[in-house]
Amino acid sequence: MRIHESVFWGIVFFLVGIFLAPSMRLIGITILVGAFVLALGLFAYRKKNNRMLWFAILATGIIFGAMYWTGFNVYQKNKITELIGNKSAIEGHVKSIKHNEKSQQLIISIDAQNNGKVSVTARPYPVLRYGDVARVNGIVKRPSEKEKMYALKNGVFATMQFPEVQILKQGDGNAIMMWLLGVKQKAVTTYGRLLPTKEAALLAGITLGERAEFSTEFKQQMANSGTTHLVALSGYNISVVAGAVLLICGLILRRRAAFYATLAVVVAFVVMAGAEASVVRAAIMGSIVLLAGYIGRAHSMRNAIAVSACAMVLWNPNVLRYDLGFQLSFLALLGIVYLKPHLDVIIKNKKAGILEWRENLSGTLSAQIMVFPILMHAIGSFSLVSLLSNIVILAFIPVTMGLGFAIAGLGFFASALAFIPAWIVSLLLQYEIAVIELFGNYEGLLIPMTALWVFVYYIMVGGILSYLQKRKKEVALCHSRGGGNPAQSSAEGSIR
C-alpha cells in the first residue's frame, strides 16, 4: 500500500472511531475492533497478503479515534466541573457572540485557574463584543438536552442563563482579530446606511456571513427555498472570493505568488468572519473546490478532503457527530468533487446555457443528493424547490459579492461614492429577495428518515459512485489502447 493510501485509510478509520465513540463504551470498541483486527491480520498472514495485513493494522485507528474522543471530552469537562451547580461570578474574555432577537449568545473563556469555556445566554444589553472582559454572575449548569448539540459542537460543557453581566474592560482581545472584526462591523454598518434593512441584511449575509439582522420569517423562507447556504459563508462563497482574488493576483503576480496572496486573503477573510469553526471549515473546503477546478482530477482530492476533515475533528472531535453544518458541508463537498463530474456529462453536455444554468444545476443537484438524507434525518424536511431557486439565483451571487466588497471598500476610503455600487446592488438584492420569498412559500418535503435508511442510502450512493468511477477508468483505458491514434491507423490502412 502506498503512503498516500495509508494516510487516507488511517484517517478514515480514525474518524470512524470518533464517530462511534459517543454511542459505545471505549472498552467495547477496543474489544470489537481488536478482535476484528486480529482475525483479519491472521487471515492476511496465512494468505501472505501484505496489503490486507497493513489494512488490518490501519483499522486499529478506530480505537485511537475513540480514545481521542473520550480523552478530549473528559479533559474539557474536568476543567469546568467544579463550577457546575454553583452560583459563581466568573470573569473571562468574550470569544464569540451571536445576537438574537431577545438575547445574546456568548462563549466566554474563563480567565481563572480552572479555565475552560462557558456558554452564556445573556440579556440583549449591555451589548458585548469580541475581546471584552466581562464578569458574569449566575448559576453554572450542565447544558440541557436542547442546548447539548450547540454546546458540544463548540466544545463547551457548562452554560449560564441570563446571569448579571458587567463589562470590566473593552477591547482586550487579539489585536489582529479585533481589527478585522472592526473592518467587518464597519462594512455591515455601511450596508445598513446605504440600503433598506432587508437588502442590507442579505448583502451582509452573502458577503460576510453576518446573519444577525435576519428576521425569523426570512430565515424560514431561506430554509424553505434551500438558499440558506448563501448567507452561511459556505465553501461556495469562499471559493468565489478566492477565485476572484486568484484571478486578480494572477494578472499581476507569478503563479506561485498569486497562490500565496490568495491564501493570505482567504485567511484574513476567515478571521474577519469571526474565525468560527464553520467558517474555517468553509475556507478549507472552498479552497479544495478551487483546487479541484485547477487540478481537475477527483482522486487527487481524496487526501485533501480527508486531511482537512481530520484537522477539524482533531480541533474538536464533537463536530463529527453533533455539528450538522459540518456534516452537511462535507457531504456537499463530496458531492461536488465526486458526483458532479458524472452529472456534468449528462446535464452540461459541453454547453453552458443562459447564466450558466447547467453548471449551477449540476452543482446544486450533486450537493443536494448527498445532503438529502441527513437533512431529512436531522431537520425532518427537505427543500424540493431548492434546485429551481438556486439555478435562478446562483449566477448573480458573484456579482453581488463583488459589489458588496466594492461598497465596503468605498465605505472606508470614499464613503460619498459608495452609493453608486449600492444602487446597482440594490437591484440585484431585490431580485434575490423576491426569489427567496417566492420559493420560500413552499414548505419542504417531509419524509421520516431513520438512521438505518440514512446508512443504506449512503452505502448505495457510495456503490454507484465507485461503479461509475471504475467504468470511467475503463472507458479511459479503452480509449488510450484501442482508439489511441485513429489518424495513424487510417494511414496504415491506406498503405495496405
Binding site: P124, P126, T197
Partner: protein
C-alpha cells in the same frame, strides 16, 4: 471590446435615468403625511411635512420593526431623518431606535432630558454620541417650526416617567394632531385645564390603557381620527373601556395590531386614511 463599451454605456445611461427619475418624480414628502408604525407593543410614529421634513416620534420596542417600516415608506435613496424624538425613556418607545440610528443619518435627537439607568438606554446614548447626533432637550412651551407647520410641546415632565412623556401638537395645512406618549389621567387633566388640546388626529395615550384617555380628555380633544399603537401584550391593552370611550367620542378608530401600519395623508384639509392590513 467596442461592443461591450456600447453596452456598458447603455446600461449606465439607463441606470442614471432610473435613478434621477425616481428622485424627481417621487411623490413622497410633498404632502403632510402621518405614519403610525406596526411595531408590536410599543409606539412609533412618523410625521412627514411638505418639503420632505421627517420627524420620527419614538421607535417602538427593540425588534427591528420600526427601521423596516421606515424603509418601506421612504424612497430607497433617502437615508435621512431630520428629527428623532422620544416621548420618554422606556424600551417600548426607544428600543427600535437603536436600529434606526445605525441605519439612517439623523439631524437631531430630541427628548425631555430624563434618561434612564437601563443598559438599553445607555446603549442608545452611546450610539447617539458615536454618531455625533446633536441632542436637544425640549421643554413645555417650546415650538418646532418648519414652513407653515408648528409642533408645540404641551407637556414635558410629570409625576413619573409615563406622566412626564412629551406631548406634542402639530398644526399644519389646516389640520392638527396630538401625540401623547404614555401619559395618564394626571397629565390629561393638566392639559385640559391649561392647553388648547383640540386636535383632528390623536395618538391614543399608553396603548389604550384604562388609566389614560379619560372621557373628559377625549371630549376636550374632539378627534376625528384616533390611532392606538398596540401589539401582543399581557396588560389587556387596548382596554374595552378605552375602546368604548373613543367610540363615544365619535372618532374613527384605527389600531396597529389589527390594521397594521396606519397612514394618513392630508390633501386640501381632508384626511385620507390607509391601513396596512
Amino acid at each position: 471590446m467596442k461592443k461591450h463599451f456600447t453596452t456598458i454605456i447603455f446600461i449606465l445611461v439607463v441606470l442614471d435615468l432610473v435613478a434621477w427619475g425616481s428622485i424627481l418624480f417621487d411623490e413622497f414628502g410633498k404632502q403632510l403625511e402621518f405614519y403610525f408604525f406596526d411595531v408590536g407593543q410599543g409606539d412609533s410614529e412618523m410625521i412627514v411635512m411638505p418639503g420632505n421634513v421627517k420627524l420620527l416620534i419614538d421607535g417602538g420596542p427593540d425588534n427591528g420593526n420600526a427601521a423596516q417600516q421606515i424603509d418601506s415608506i421612504v424612497p430607497w435613496h433617502d437615508r435621512y431623518i431630520d428629527m428623532v424624538m422620544i416621548s420618554h425613556a422606556e424600551l417600548d418607545h426607544f428600543g427600535g431606535l437603536l436600529d434606526v440610528l445605525e441605519r439612517y443619518e439623523v439631524g437631531v435627537f430630541i427628548y425631555n432630558g430624563e434618561g434612564s439607568d437601563s443598559e438599553s438606554f445607555k446603549e442608545l446614548a452611546k450610539i447617539v454620541k458615536e454618531r455625533k447626533i446633536p441632542v436637544v432637550v425640549i421643554n413645555e412651551g417650546d415650538n418646532i417650526l418648519h414652513g407653515s407647520s408648528t409642533i408645540a410641546i404641551l407637556s414635558a415632565h410629570g409625576t413619573n416617567k409615563n406622566e412626564g412623556a412629551l406631548v406634542a401638537k402639530l398644526t399644519s395645512n389646516g389640520v392638527s394632531a396630538l401625540f401623547t406618549g404614555d401619559i395618564g389621567k394626571v397629565t390629561e387633566l393638566e392639559l385640559i385645564k391649561n392647553k388648547a388640546i383640540q386636535a383632528d388626529i390623536i395618538k391614543i395615550p399608553h396603548h389604550g390603557s384604562k388609566f389614560s384617555s379619560t372621557l373628559e380628555f377625549l371630549k376636550a380633544v374632539r378627534p376625528k381620527v384616533a390611532v392606538i399603537e398596540v401589539g401582543k401584550n399581557s396588560y389587556g391593552h387596548p382596554t374595552k373601556e378605552v375602546l368604548d370611550r373613543v367610540k363615544n367620542a365619535g372618532a374613527q378608530l384605527f389600531r396597529t395590531d389589527t390594521d397594521g401600519m396606519v397612514k394618513l395623508v392630508i390633501e386640501n384639509g381632508i384626511i385620507r386614511q390607509y391601513k396596512g392590513k
